[in-house]
């Protein structure tokens, strides 16, 4: 007995010792999330200070050389520009491919401005709004020195029609252009995508079926980065896409690592939005997320390419240690986290019941669930993100004035709805996303205060939109009146943010993003009105502002937070700033010092 006791004591002591040792390196940490008073007062060295990268360029430099190392906790959807849709891969793509148009390289909302990529200027549209014309810069070359032509851009668009081979990219061309049945050049080897024409080697025209004022944004996707037909290897093209950007691939090991080196045929004069500073770029894939943070803090790597912010342990360190805090940015994440309120599931088919949910929700708890004000984001009250065209602050449900919930108005809304004592409905969330799990639990508690009972149902993220929350039939059959979600716009304007979320014409049987199933004639007509070819950007933005307010009045979406991500920039990283189109640092201009 004595020996057992001794053994147990020794084991306990050993375990405790190890645990203490594990904690010793973070002994300077205080409360996770930090306090608002400490978060803006970090010591400065040079121009490095807390949030300095949100509004300005940190460590501006033209120094060449060094190795810039990225790491990612997962793998890219592809390195082939025709097959990319992740925000970070679109951002990373600018290092080696250039589309017709691109986003201006500058901090803050300035980056929402489109500028020419390989085109000489932004597209010009015909008077009827149906034909968009782009002229391609002459003298551009691929990494092997061969010239870039308009036919290569057309071919790049054509190949995206074969969704069996290039499955991941957006579908705008198939939706907007005149011949949606075209199967792509792999299956139709003699045919042609007739809705894209090339009058000469440096001119390309897109023929649309209906006016679409945002077409310049569509061609900013790397689906328009030129692809020489002779070099296209289909699904294997991701192993070595032909570069037109400042860097080119020297090796790609799927799931492991990729290495890029400077493209000798790229010129700064023709591509002012990117830089060619490091002499080598490495991206390590499938690296443990916590390990990425540790490597960042140790200076072994420079960028977490996912751009989604550090993990909880590093977050605490960054916000409580002044020497680290000054190299930290709580940057806008270009995303809205929210809760859909389905307008077809009873009793939420009554707008008063939906408004009761809006009023009763505890927005502070939801903000905490997503990581607090720095790593989660600011409490939201609109669908449009701050800084986006058409954004006008308003607060229909007192989210900001009474962030813990307006229970009086919630109860009044429930009475008006005919369910004064509350009701029961299902709530769907992605069970493999801890923040969403915490959000669901927080909302369940908050709504319980007014008698609304949520029955929580977790689903896998991978099939959440295809099979569950994004499948209206499933939602109706399983009474999922509440569905957690989030949206990062494909481009930073009202259409990119709102069309998929609240346009009744965008409801689809699977992969549906209008989970609230708002099909309101007023909102729908406003979307149609916004496509009027003669409208200016300001007029269109004003319409999107109206749509925002009209959709919020229908209460089909409960905004949680305008997302923020807590990013760490090692002191050796140069030209660092938060880039609003992707909600992370601008990878096309980074350099390293030392």
């Amino acid at each position: 007995m004595t020996s057992r006791r001794t053994l147990a004591i020794t084991a306990c002591a050993l375990t405790a010792g190890l645990a203490l040792a594990a904690c010793s390196s973070s002994s300077t940490s205080s409360s996770p999330g930090g306090s608002s008073s400490s978060a803006g007062t970090g010591a400065s060295a040079g121009n490095a200070s807390f949030n300095a990268g949100v509004t300005g360029v940190v460590n501006p430099s033209t120094k060449k050389g060094g190795t810039l190392t990225f790491a990612n906790s997962s793998t890219p959807d592809s390195f082939d520009g025709g097959n990319e849709y992740y925000a970070w891969t679109l951002n990373f793509n600018r290092l080696y491919q250039t589309p017709l148009t691109t986003y201006k390289s500058c901090p803050g909302a300035c980056a929402n401005t489109l500028v020419p990529g390989i085109a000489t200027a932004l597209g010009t549209v015909s008077s009827n709004g149906l034909v968009w014309t782009y002229h391609i810069k002459q003298g551009l070359k691929y990494e092997d020195g061969s010239p870039v032509t308009a036919q290569d851009v057309k071919y790049a668009v054509e190949r995206t029609y074969d969704r069996g081979v290039l499955a991941n990219g957006p579908s705008y061309f198939q939706v907007l252009l005149a011949d949606p049945k075209y199967p792509g050049p792999y299956k139709d080897k003699t045919g042609d995508l007739t809705s894209v024409t090339t009058p000469d080697n440096y001119t390309i025209q897109f023929h649309l079926t209906a006016p679409f004022p945002d077409f310049n944004y569509v061609v900013a996707f790397p689906q328009t980065a030129p692809v020489p037909k002779a070099k296209d290897t289909g699904s294997n093209y991701q192993l070595h896409p032909m570069s037109t950007g400042p860097y080119m691939f020297s090796s790609v090991q799927l799931n492991k690592q990729a290495t890029l080196v400077p493209n000798p045929n790229w010129t700064q004069n023709e591509d002012t939005e990117a830089r060619q500073l490091p002499s080598k770029i490495v991206i390590d894939l499938n690296v443990n997320a916590e390990d990425i943070d540790n490597r960042l803090l140790a200076g072994d790597i420079q960028v977490d390419s996912q751009g989604a912010g550090v993990q909880a342990a590093a977050r605490a360190k960054l916000l409580s240690t002044p020497s680290l805090q000054k190299n930290t940015d709580a940057a806008p994440g270009n995303r809205l986290w929210f809760v859909y309120i389905n307008s077809k599931v009873a009793p939420l088919n009554n707008v008063n019941c939906r408004q009761a949910v809006e009023y009763a929700a505890n927005k502070t708890d939801l903000q905490t669930a997503y990581g607090g004000p720095y790593a989660g984001g600011a409490i939201g009250s609109t669908l449009l993100l701050p800084g986006m065209g058409g954004f006008t602050p308003f607060d229909l449900y007192n989210a900001k004035s009474q962030p813990t919930g307006d229970l009086t108005k919630a109860k009044a809304a429930l009475t008006a709805c005919g369910h004064a004592s509350g009701f029961t409905t299902g709530a769907a969330y992605r069970s493999d996303r801890p923040k969403e799990v915490a959000g669901a639990t927080a909302l369940q508690a908050a709504l319980g205060r007014v008698g609304i009972t949520l029955q929580l149902h977790g689903y896998p993220a991978g099939s959440y939109y295809t099979n569950f929350a994004g499948a209206p039939n499933y939602v109706h059959q399983h009474n999922l009146g509440i569905d957690f979600g989030g949206w990062a716009p494909d481009w930073p304007d009202g259409y990119g943010m709102l069309d998929a979320l609240v346009n009744g014409n965008a409801i689809t049987p699977t992969g549906n993003a209008n989970v609230g199933e708002l099909n309101d004639s007023t909102v729908n007509s406003l979307f149609t009105k916004a496509t009027t070819p003669s409208y200016t950007v300001a007029q269109q933005s004003a319409i999107f502002g109206q749509i925002d307010r009209a959709a919020m009045a229908q209460a089909v979406i409960l905004p949680e937070v305008y997302a923020k991500v807590l990013l760490y920039r090692p002191p050796t990283l140069t030209n660092v700033y938060s880039y609003s189109p992707w909600g992370m640092y601008n990878y096309a201009v980074l350099g390293v010092s030392g």
């Binding site: 020996s3 053994l7 020794t10 084991a11 050993l14 375990t15 190890l18 040792a21 594990a22 390196s25 997962s74 592809s78 849709y85 190949r159 074969d162 969704r163 069996g164 081979v165 290039l166 499955a167 991941n168 957006p170 579908s171 198939q174 939706v175 949606p180 199967p183 792999y186 296209d232 290897t233 289909g234 699904s235 294997n236 093209y237 991701q238 090991q253 799927l254 799931n255 492991k256 690592q257 390590d284 894939l285 499938n286 443990n288 916590e290 390990d291 540790n294 490597r295 140790a298 072994d300 896998p460 991978g462 099939s463 939109y465 295809t466 099979n467 499948a471 689809t508 699977t510 992969g511």
Partner: protein, 384 residues
């Protein structure tokens, strides 16, 4: 022996077919039984907001609209004779054993697994060497010094090793030896052929972390086995005959104590070769374990099928090798494997004739049948 091996290999093939059927059923049949159609399945692999024509194209490309039997036959056929896949501009031949194409990366599964395998082998082999030597040594020492401070301290360490999860000890070792004192920076894995020193340096912490867990188990197991063996009559007889204590321990005590260790070692190594998920994830090693995690996260069924089959293969083969080795080190097992008429020294009714062949008699369900049958045989007098 050859007949035994052939019989076991045939059993292995049968077992792998059963595993493939079960795995295939889990990922392709059960969703259908739950009401999911092939278009809904295909929709998971067509990016965000896909058009219906895109979903149908993917459904056709992946062959999900074919009957399940056809899909399964295609899978088996690919393993045996290879398969052709549409990579866009041309048809690509996937040479046997072709485990299909990834639904996500559109790349053949087999080369990806083979690229990950050396990492897992490097991890498992190095860790196995460490845990086997340290675990057995500590176990023997602890048994011989039973009740002393050495015994208690060793078992306390072993208890900690068994109790602490790998993601804790792994992160702790990284924090201490990669970041606080960067003796072993957690750099990207380097192949042994590229730079042996860097290969070893990058694997030191994963080896030790993984070995810590297993060494603890093996120490406890060895200790128990040694204690039992050393209390046997034939040990007393060996001592009475005047054999040096070192000979008694090493030859008559340790060898029979090691036979169950060998069995379990084979099982453990087979399991690890299928992917040390926690260790590889903690240390960001791009091996089969990480490949498995990624395949599951992506719901990439061909990759999941491939890795399950490979893991099953390793476990079955490891079992087979252990059984053969068992027969080599333990004559009584040889007796059960070889017909009596083929062995001139065989005495079927009298059992084994060696003193060191007393096997482990404890219960562990994963032991092979050979080990279990051997355990029922009584020990014979010591050989002088």
């Amino acid at each position: 022996m050859i007949a035994f091996v052939i019989r076991r290999l045939l059993t292995t093939i049968f077992l792998l077919i059963v595993v493939s059927m079960i795995t295939f059923g889990i990922f392709f049949l059960i969703p259908r039984l739950a009401g999911q159609n092939s278009a809904e399945l295909a929709a998971q692999y067509v990016g965000r907001n896909p058009t219906m024509s895109a979903i149908l194209q993917m459904e056709a490309k992946l062959g999900l609209n074919d009957p399940l039997v056809v899909q399964y036959w295609r899978f088996l056929k690919g393993i045996v004779v290879g398969a052709h896949y549409d990579s866009g501009p041309s048809q690509t031949f996937c040479a046997p054993p072709c485990f299909g194409y990834s639904f996500r990366t559109q790349q053949p599964v087999w080369p990806q697994m083979m690229a990950a395998l050396p990492v897992t082998i490097s991890l498992a082999a190095g860790a196995a060497l460490i845990w086997l030597t340290t675990g057995v040594s500590i176990g023997v020492l602890s048994a011989l010094k039973r009740g002393t401070v050495v015994d208690r301290f060793s078992m306390a360490i072993a208890l900690a090793g068994v109790s602490l999860p790998i993601f804790f000890t792994g992160l702790l070792s990284l924090e201490l030896f990669s970041y606080k004192w960067p003796l072993f920076p957690n750099d990207q894995y380097v192949a042994i052929t590229a730079n042996p020193l860097l290969w070893a340096r990058n694997l030191v912490l994963p080896w030790i972390t993984l070995a810590f867990l297993y060494a603890a188990l093996y120490a406890r197991l060895t200790r128990a086995s040694m204690l039992e063996t050393m209390s046997e009559d034939y040990i007393r007889t060996a001592r009475a005959k005047g054999l040096p204590e070192r000979t008694v321990i090493a030859r008559h005590g340790l060898r029979p104590a090691l036979t169950p260790i060998l069995t379990i070692f084979g099982m453990d190594l087979g399991l690890l070769l299928g992917g040390a998920i926690l260790t590889e994830t903690t240390f960001s090693l791009p091996g089969l374990g990480q490949f498995t995690v990624l395949a599951i996260q992506n719901q990439d069924f061909p990759e999941i099928m491939g890795v399950v089959m490979l893991a099953a293969f390793f476990i079955v083969i490891a079992n087979l090798v252990v059984d053969i080795l068992y027969a080599v080190v333990d004559p009584r097992v040889r007796i059960s494997l070889w017909p009596c008429w083929r062995s001139a020294t065989c005495t079927c009714s009298s059992g084994p004739t060696t003193a060191w062949s007393r096997p482990w008699t404890g219960s562990r369900s994963t032991w092979s049948e050979a080990a279990r049958s051997a355990s029922s045989v009584s020990p014979a007098p010591a050989r002088a």
